[in-house]
């Protein structure tokens, strides 16, 4: 929605308001959906994973798992990696839909665009690769978030302070890696354009 407003204020100077629908859909599906969802999930889920596994570590629950002949990697880490990798793309798909719909609402009700031409313009320039690249990013971000959460949680030491430190490290590392991977994946998908 903000994107639509901002684009309008900028594009109207060049009489290019017609491009707003395209700008919104491409920005949301390629970049904003996966990156913003990734950063939010890093703060929410990555931190929760680090805190949970970290607490299990400092209260000897992970040692208890091992003595009960259960591999902690298989039991604790693998399901979280799979969940992160598969669920974040679904969340990004929802974010894409909401983002584009928000842009539509602002454009139609605030900026007086024609609804059908807005939708036409949205579809016209949208290619499968725009959505797919966003979903690939989401899968990678989901993996990175879970991996950082599990890694820092697993390595935490020394009680409540150690768990707090692990949580901070997991969120910071995941956020930085999301931005790095975002650049790399964008390079892979769109370097020839």
């Amino acid at each position: 929605m903000v994107l639509a407003l901002q684009s309008y204020s900028g594009f109207s100077r060049f009489q290019a308001e017609g491009a707003i629908a395209t700008v919104v859909v491409l920005s949301v599906t390629r970049e904003l959906g996966p990156v913003l969802a990734g950063l939010m999930v890093a703060g929410r889920i990555g931190a929760a994973m680090a805190a949970e596994i970290g607490t299990m570590r400092v209260t000897e629950q992970i040692d208890a798992l091992s003595t009960l002949s259960t591999n902690p990697f298989k039991y604790l880490v693998a399901p979280r990696l799979i969940a992160g990798t598969t669920m974040l793309p679904l969340l990004v798909l929802v974010a894409d839909i909401i983002g584009v719909f928000g842009g539509f609402l602002v454009s139609v009700y605030r900026l007086d665009f024609n609804p059908s031409s807005y939708i036409t313009r949205t579809w016209e320039f949208l290619e499968p690769v725009d959505v797919i690249s966003g979903l690939v990013k989401a899968a990678v971000f989901g993996f990175v978030i879970s991996l950082m959460g599990c890694y820092f949680g697993y390595k935490s030491r020394g009680g409540a302070q150690g768990v707090g430190q692990a949580t901070t490290n997991a969120v910071v590392a995941a956020s930085i890696l999301i931005l790095v991977f975002n650049y790399l994946i964008t390079g892979i998908f769109f370097s020839d354009k």
Partner: protein, 258 residues
Amino acid sequence: MTDTPKIALRNVHKRFGPKVVLNGIDLEVGRGESLVVIGGSGTGKSVMLKCILGLLHPDTGSIKVDGEETTRLGSREREKLLHKFGMLFQGAALFDSIRVWENVAFGLIQGEHMPRAKAKDIAMAKLGAVGLTPEVGELYPAELSGGMQKRVALARAIADEPEIIFFDEPTTGLDPIMADVINELIVKCVKDLGATAVTITHDMASARKIADRIAMIYQGRIIWTGHAKDIDASGNAHVDQFVHGRAEGPIQMQIRAL
């Protein structure tokens, strides 16, 4: 004893950075024996147990279980070896996201892939063996008192009838009556299973009750072993000081002046 010892440690060393924790541990535990290891805080008792379990790797030395070297086992072989072990952790270490009975049945369901219904029956029976009712089985660990958590942890340690059970300070943090209940449960469970038990504790009342044999660890070495009944006539000044809990003696606590 001509039998192969159930557990044998030879010259085990472990250090964390500059801090030497185990400094050449030699220890044997016979089949079906209950050994209690006593020693002050930070003398390496827990680290020794964790080295035997493979949760920590000793820097040098040999650890044999049933005559088989275990220090170089791969993760799959280690998993198989751990079927022989049960452990009661100092803080109980119950999984707080699952119910009490699922905690007790955890090793059966995850480790041995037993059907849940059958594992639940066994878990409830084990909870009964430590004096807890089936209703407790449906609660979560956070809803239990410290003493009950220890009993659940004991039920979990004995659930898949291990050959060797480790108890890490089983009575720490409990009132004297509950501590004695736990001691009696330990003696009963170990006797019923015919298991080999290694207990580490500071609590001399607990040590006297549980032990066939007592070993004392000091500065990362075993400095005395003997029968439990000989503990008061050990002839070792370190052991005497520990048993009687005296501040004066050869063991000097490292206290920094404020």
